[in-house]
Symmetry: C2
Subunit: 336 residues, 2 copies
DNA sequence: TTGAAAGCGCTAACAG
DNA sequence: CTGTTAGCGCTTTCAA
């Protein structure tokens, strides 16, 4: 009577019942965006009715690449990482690649990932974000043909996207001195966790240099080294502002820390920017809501560029290593 | 030089190197008794040298070795999604599971993912965040044995983590009226994109109810429906505040929108909370920096709970469906 | 947007 | 014993 088999249905059964080719059925499972909505629904309905289950083994055989892109990132300790990740996700979302997120919170974990991601050739591509690694790691990645793009770090064998941190510091110095400030302060994560890179130090150095151009010295007691987390930032901001000779303007190496400074300043009854000017660095989205003047590093775009670079490399469209430097720009709002 | 591929060797490679047909190699593996001892040893040796692993097995192993958990989430339009994701990533990071992020930005995409994630069964578990789906989708997921936990939505077959949105609205009403406010306003994404859920509406309804308890009516012109993005929020906040009879207190269904209101209010020269009280909803981390009073929904923890629930289910430790309701609490800061 | 057709890596029937 | 060859169920060009 009904020849709908007790047997497990195959893609051929689905196709026949739908009056379509197996190619189309395969597409609704693997690249649904390529299939007409009506067709898709018809196929889907039959799939559900039949209880069709693709044979994993057959798939494994037929599948070429792994269609997987990994992102190695510090754990979301700072919104900056997230905004870059968003840029990456945005681009990857337009493709058929899966986005696998590997978060790092220690040196050991970073090292473990670097090894296993290379060895278990399971990734078509890898984006390494704000994390340092040595030549051995790089060579291993290359030996195992993991296409890699790095963000906020540079390494001769891989394409990279970065910014000029020292340059950013100089911009800060010029901007703040241009506003007439002579007693400056700095807060930033100068001593980041061992597994992370330390752009804040470069920003600080650039800042000092920029100040030197104006013959201004940044006294040590106005240089505040603080981890990026909320508690530390708040505490550090307090120390910085409660000094006898408090700075009239502060350059924070991260927007989130600038926000901490502002919070503390307000609690102290200081008016911003009259009593204290605050300049951030990042260009976070929330900075706008706070009216924070900041040096924008286009985080979102950085992520997008990295993803584009990687995709181009995977597709073979571009093989050569290239280093992209994303320009900084200052966004003037109300805190300076 | 050496053409020994970086690629995984296939049965063809083994056969070629052994000077035999693939059939013989296949026999060595599947029916060794049919193969001549000498031949067999030759083949075995080459298999070992090459490190040959049948592909299906390789895949099975890869999948068993690296277990995978997927998160289906709206694209990072709101920081709230990100904070929940962070909670998830935190938990998953302590395990051997990979975290795969699938971002949704349209109804079609959501549907596509729901289908392919179920059919390809490449996931050990799935967390569906703030996204609605129907019973057909649910049954398919179940039929294909994808362990699933949902956040901010409820569905009888799956465990879920959610909050009491209407209850939150009531809390807001009581808190604000308790502070003496009688002319209230509301802003929220009452009409979210079609692929998303709409907790803001529940919050609004709860808010209205809570006000009704105090015989206060929320006039339509003080109910502001606005998408969550920055531009819309700012614009809507303007409209809300520029009314003749402006509210003395505003309940925003999302912290990010509360921040928009504050920004606009300040630009208008209003003092907060004297001229205008603002109460947010979410408990974002940045809310603290802004001194925003808000109804905290413990986003980070929500993510952690969902991940724990899923892990327990995957490990078989807990099979029964359970619905967790995360309690709300109000965090008093400086905007009310 | 779709279909035809050529694989993918492997097994097994059939010859020899 | 071993090789030839025809699939297995699925994916992926390539053209239409």
């Amino acid at each position: 009577m009904n020849d709908a088999r007790e047997e497990n249905p195959t893609i051929y059964d689905v196709a026949r019942l739908a009056g379509l080719s197996i190619a189309t059925v395969s597409r609704v499972i693997n690249s649904p965006e390529q299939v007409n909505e009506v067709t898709k629904n018809k196929v889907l309905q039959i799939i559900d009715e039949l209880g069709y289950i693709p044979k994993a083994e057959a798939r494994a055989r037929a599948i070429r690449g792994t269609r997987r892109i990994g992102v190695l990132t510090p754990f979301f300790t700072s919104p900056a990482f997230v905004e870059r990740l968003r840029g990456i996700a945005f681009v990857i979302g337009t493709t058929n690649f899966e986005l696998i997120v590997y978060t790092v919170d220690s040196k050991v974990r970073l090292q473990d990932y670097l090894v296993s991601l290379a060895l278990t050739r399971n990734l078509d591509g890898l984006i390494i974000m704000s994390l340092p690694f040595n030549e051995t790691d790089a060579k291993r990645l290359i030996a195992h043909q993991v296409k890699t793009v790095i963000i906020e770090y540079e390494q001769e064998f891989f394409s990279s996207v970065k910014i000029d941190n020292a340059g950013g510091g100089k911009i800060a110095a010029r901007y703040l001195t241009g506003k007439g400030h002579r007693r400056l302060g700095f807060i930033g994560e100068i001593n980041p966790p061992e597994y992370a890179i330390h752009p804040a130090l470069d920003r600080l150095n650039g800042f000092k240099e920029g100040l030197a151009e104006h013959h201004i010295l940044l006294p040590d007691e106005h240089i505040c080294s603080s981890p990026i987390d909320q508690e530390s930032s708040l505490k550090s901001a307090c120390e910085l502002l409660q000094q006898e000779q408090r700075p009239t303007a502060i350059f924070a190496a991260a927007d989130i820390q600038a926000m901490a400074v502002i919070k503390v300043a307000k609690e102290m009854g200081l008016n911003i920017p009259q009593d204290l000017a605050v300049l951030g660095f990042d260009g976070l989205e929330v900075a706008d809501y706070m009216g924070l003047t900041t040096i924008n590093q286009s985080l979102d775009e950085t992520g997008r560029i990295a993803a584009d670079l990687l995709l181009a490399q995977i597709s073979g469209a571009r093989q050569s290593v290239q280093h992209v430097s994303v320009p900084l720009n200052i966004i003037e709002r109300e805190t300076v």
